[in-house]
Symmetry: C2
Subunit: 458 residues, 2 copies
């Protein structure tokens, strides 16, 4: 009899794992059943803002592989709108409910279990009432619900986006493109707390020129309604009219089901796995529901990004299929684009480096994406953080206008291998006038950081 | 009495060294004299094609720092149009001639000598006659001479570029932009022998659509003249009319002066230095005149690129100034752009890997620069070469249309640290739909290479 793999969650991590397992084990050898709560499989959550903004035709274009593809080409039995409500490790069963018909729970036996239900938007108490017009943005179903709302009569005109992280700023831009008047509310002093405040200030200057009203240092305290619909956002400095509200306050791992089953959940709220993405005997997990290790702090972190979900899912699937692979952690890389502003980061921010116990120096330089004389040369700011004494690279942030953010990848690669800023100055990076000054901006920053390390002495 | 540093060559390497030395040692402590054969200091040779092509105003825009800046701000005595014709290590003197007045050679004592005369274009026997209208392209003076020729009456109409390496293809594009009919002649089967033939074929397809006539597998055997001017290029498959000829056959290190003085010159023709760029006691060298080590083959190589010249010059200058720095070699990175075609390479090509003694597997993938659904998504081809058994990354090549070539930098960073392709699959690279698919093209290639390594087994 074939073993049965049950997968909870049909997006990046779950379907990557299922596909990889299938490549290594045929259908006579392994039966694969996937329960997905929503209406879609394997889609790009990160693409939702571009759908809302009208740059991409959604939801279809955002789907990498539809359920039919998985059924026909991978012999994977995908059951949409099925929510797993319990895991019984003792009897090796899951209990699933069909959300469409509200029918009886079904019990499905498993030999291997892949746990990948993702994450869900953080909803503060004031957003917990289920008021119409208030949206989190995590699943493609969330995107579809928002698009329905924006298209309905009376058409919303005023949007308030709460939280100016990646999702917040991307959604703010999307809603402006959609034709709404948008206010972006952030409790902190600068938007994008994923970069240091000095770099966040550059982001604020830029997005203020994008028809987005930015209110920093403002805390939301409640919502106002009219006829069961959102009408205003109440803050500690007044009310903001709103007929649509976007929550950009981050996401939380969907780990309750695992916790209830007695599986280990870490202090980040994510499920704990080993390097092969194994949680327990025959139990695997990956994606936005797990925690992983930050290679620079050594701490567990919850980093809900599609790129990690795909990698972790692949690793779990290779192992599930009898191969061997590990996921060695993250270095905290993230890039985002707001209009033509590019923001990249990797490694630790100043506050994160301090929290990890590092003492450090910093270097900030301005340089250009291309040779200064080359047409289209545009300025960028690069910040490096390096450990005192050793000069070990700890983090980098880049803000620029063009060909800027992806330069963070070189630093990510350098961080991966515990490079010093001195060694980074020698890196053999591509140079030609259309691509870089003769000293790439990253190398200019490395030179300055190396001087800072030398000056800081012992 | 101040020590005296004499610098031979006033471009990237020489002036970087001089500037760094000055930063560490004041003018009362160190006198600096620079002899430069040409009319310019510290310029971008790599920018010449863009001057010829009309994208950049030359020569002024290509000069990073003029002699007056060095004199006034750095107290560096720059003597243009002075050629050093001999070095006497015994008496610690150089002999220099002023090329302007053909005057008596002057003898100048040195305590430290920085040797940085660069390289010069390879001129085959058939190009050795000094025929008017035949140009190498290395110095800004070469560029100025070409521009004079192109601007004179009768205006040249037919250009033949001999050699389809970086300089050849960049100059071919430049001459097309300048309004000439251009034929690019290459002895090899494909252009760009700096990439493997399968990738070179992609380049050929692309440049054939750029109004450049490409003739591969053709060898130039001589030139024809009319009234002392070039009139045609003779090849083994017929004559090509030409009133201007560009030599794109590579460059040779200017090491004869060093060799004559008894300084060590390696089998690449480049001067041999230690890691600090020291040649002998008080004698330093850097830039296009030296050889360096390729970190993957362990072999000495001559890689005449401005980026290395700048780095090596900086290292020499730090050491000259009493500091400590090393230049740890290269990994063979290079990027070029021909019209909108982007080409990048790093590490070893297949033939180079074989020559170094490696057995290897390869992986070639097609992917896109951005998420497939994102506006402006364009295809690129990525090739990885990995050592058999160990899976150690040995090299990479990328050909694409947009946001492609600089992705080579991540691989360059990975090569630097002897990463395996398996480990590369886990690299934490920036992901957002405007910048990359959820698996960056480099990671897609790493996955395929890892499978190839696994399949090749022991």
């Amino acid at each position: 009899m074939a073993r049965r793999l049950v997968v909870i969650g049909g997006n990046a991590a779950g379907m990557s794992a299922a596909s990889q397992a299938r490549r290594r084990r045929g259908r006579d050898d392994l039966e694969i059943v996937v329960f997905e709560r929503g209406n879609f499989t394997s889609y790009s959550s990160c693409g939702i803002p571009y759908w809302v903004g009208g740059l991409v035709e959604g939801p279809d274009k955002l789907i990498a592989r539809a359920p039919a593809t998985f059924r026909d080409e991978y012999a994977i039995d995908v059951r949409l709108r099925h929510e797993v409500v319990a895991i019984d490790l003792e009897s090796r069963h899951v209990v699933a409910r069909n959300l469409e018909n509200g029918g009886e729970p079904v019990h499905v036996r498993f030999d291997d279990l892949m746990y990948a239900p993702g994450a869900e938007p953080v909803r503060p108490d004031w957003a917990d009432g289920g008021l119409a017009g208030v949206f989190g943005m995590q699943t493609l179903d969330d995107g579809a619900a928002l698009m329905d709302w924006l298209g309905a009569e009376p058409a919303p005109e005023h949007a308030v986006v709460v939280g100016a992280g990646y999702i917040g700023v991307e959604m703010a831009e999307a809603l402006v493109r959609h034709g709404l008047r948008v206010t972006l509310v952030e409790r902190g002093a600068e938007p994008m707390s994923s970069v240091d405040p000095d770099m966040g200030a550059l982001v604020r200057e830029a997005i203020c020129g994008m028809n987005i009203e930015v209110r920093t240092g403002v805390t939301v305290t409640g919502l106002k309604e009219s006829d069961g619909r959102i009408s205003a956002v109440v803050t500690d400095s007044g009310e903001l009219p709103a007929d649509v509200v976007l929550l950009g306050l981050g996401v939380r791992p969907n780990s309750q089901l695992a916790r209830d089953a007695g599986l280990p959940v870490g202090r980040t709220g994510g499920v704990v796995t080993d390097l092969r993405m194994r949680v327990a005997d025959g139990i695997w997990a990956a994606g936005d529901c797990v925690e992983t290790v930050h290679r620079l702090s050594g701490h567990p972190v919850h980093v809900p990004l599609g790129t990690h979900a795909n990698k972790q899912g692949r690793v779990a699937g290779i192992n599930l299929g009898g191969g061997y692979a590990t996921f060695p952690g993250v270095v905290g890389t993230a890039v985002t684009k707001v209009c033509d502003l590019e923001v990249g980061r990797t490694g630790l921010l100043e506050r994160e480096a301090s929290a990890a116990g590092y003492e450090f120096v910093t270097a900030v330089v301005k340089s250009t994406n291309r040779a200064g004389y080359f047409p289209g040369a545009a300025q960028m700011t690069v910040k490096l953080i390096a450990e005192r004494r050793t000069g070990r690279l700890l983090g980098a942030q880049i803000v620029g206008r063009s060909e800027a953010a992806k330069r963070i990848d070189v630093v990510a690669a350098a961080l991966w291998h515990e490079t010093t800023v001195e060694e980074l100055t020698a890196f053999d990076l591509g140079y030609a006038p259309p691509y870089a000054p003769v000293w790439d901006p990253v190398l200019v920053a490395a030179r300055k950081a190396a001087v800072a390390v030398e000056r800081a002495g012992q």
